[in-house]
Symmetry: C2
């Protein structure tokens, strides 16, 4: 049995034998912040490149644990929303670290320097256990 | 210097010395598939739990490289969409592996067993370089 599996097994056995939902330590959370940017000039490759340049600077906020900058994929099923220009996905350890990001000077400077490019943003913040 | 940093350094030095944007090998892609589920009975904790149970089975599709199941976070700025019930985020190496997932028996069984629970899904598929 691998160490990690063993720990999981021990934890769940303990939980089961004590009959308490509370006996196992709380699973670590992951805070997922996903932003979809819609450009004022959706056909401008220059504006899109400029926004991506800005996001690459924004990625330096120290509480960001993982980041991915994307564009709509080639998939086209009817349930797929693909009219945004740029996807900005980042992970934080928790809500508090996301709040630090929101007010971090790098973030404020990003908004100041690049917000003229976008028409709107749609943001989804989700939390759930790390797996 | 760590091995990875050294490789990056060697790659970028090579690129710089040859003066060619093409000299570095293409960065690896990451395919990000993010689904937001809206329940028929948004206030039913039982339905939400059942959907999460289904997603935990769906997570076993072998081409999934990373998965996170989430619920709307406590953040409430006006740009934040939080009327969905469950967020399903997964990473694939590329479009082909996402297509394998779409038609995998585990995925088809998930849709068969759980789709009665949701009113709609909104899907965002994004691709961009792995960092």
């Amino acid at each position: 049995m691998k160490d990690q599996s063993r720990r999981k097994f021990v934890k769940s056995s303990l939980g089961a034998s004590l009959g308490l939902g509370l006996s196992a330590p709380a699973a670590k959370e992951l805070f997922v912040h996903h932003v979809y940017f819609y450009l004022k000039n959706p056909d401008s490759a220059a504006d899109k490149a400029k926004l991506i340049e800005g996001l690459n600077k924004l990625a330096k906020v120290p509480t960001i644990k993982f980041v991915h900058i994307g564009e709509p994929a080639a998939t086209t099923r009817s349930v797929i929303e693909r009219s945004y220009a740029v996807s900005w996905l980042c992970f934080f350890n928790n809500l508090m670290e996301e709040e630090i990001y929101q007010t971090h000077p790098i973030h404020l400077k990003f908004v100041e320097d690049y917000s003229a490019l976008w028409e709107k943003v749609v943001v989804y913040d989700s939390t759930g256990p790390k797996r």
